[in-house]
Symmetry: C2
DNA sequence: ATTATAGTTGAATATTTATTCAACTGTCAA
DNA sequence: TTGACAGTTGAATAAATATTCAACTATAAT
């Protein structure tokens, strides 16, 4: 009679494949950075902001109008996007203008368009 | 003296820009689909799974070992990935083998590599 | 038929992420 | 220097997502 707890549910079925794949995988840190990067595209508000900024630089108020969320929410989102080096800002008087920091953004958005069903 | 509630915090500062951008933005549905698509790349477990599957087709057990999460969690993740048409599966006896359904996956992952700090 | 293993499922829980709220800073103009 | 407005911030809350758990299906072997 066996123990109630099965020892470990992680049975390796194809040991060779697992070993080969493990060797070729990027480091956990790298994987995490990839996921972090794509998180910036994984929310409708962020996607809309990025798309809008690709068309024109904009201030927080305008982005709030376009996305229909509060200025505060926009500001929080912009700070993640800035930390991810996807947007940059410049101040002009009271107004802060945001724009894309990385020309790859539109390219990335458009790459996805091909793989999604529209309308 | 004004009302306590300010009528609407969404002041449009650059009306012309806002109008122009609004016209050029994709529909909300399209934006949402884009976000949904990138959600499939926005979690380390999913990224690792996709990367692994790009190297070799694999069964649920093997993926569980490689990602260090339970078979159940993997199965749940695979079902989202399948719904997003990023992976496909075939059964061989008791074992279900998963593989990439879309050759763009690796391309997308690698696009991000350029924009992330590694190690 | 019975048992064992691979995988799936739905509900519960844990974790993460987005948004709101209220108080704050910075800049301009009266 | 005071008020008004653009924007930011941190903490609280709400909402979304990932993981676990336990019960289940499917297939194969004895």
């Amino acid at each position: 009679m066996e123990k109630k707890l099965d020892m470990c549910e992680n049975t390796i079925i194809h040991e060779e494949v697992v070993e080969t794949v493990k060797k070729q995988l990027p480091s956990d840190k790298k994987i995490e950075n990839l996921a972090l990067f794509y998180k910036m595209f994984s929310d409708p508000t962020k996607v809309k902001m990025l798309w809008a900024l690709d068309i024109n630089e904009m201030c927080v108020c305008d982005l709030a109008v376009i996305t229909k969320v509060t200025k505060s929410a926009i500001s929080h989102q912009l700070s993640s996007l800035k930390e991810a080096n996807l947007v940059k800002s410049r101040r002009e008087g009271k107004i802060v203008y945001y724009s894309l920091a990385d020309s790859c953004v539109k390219e990335i958005l458009e790459k996805a368009v091909i793989h999604t069903i529209n309308e």
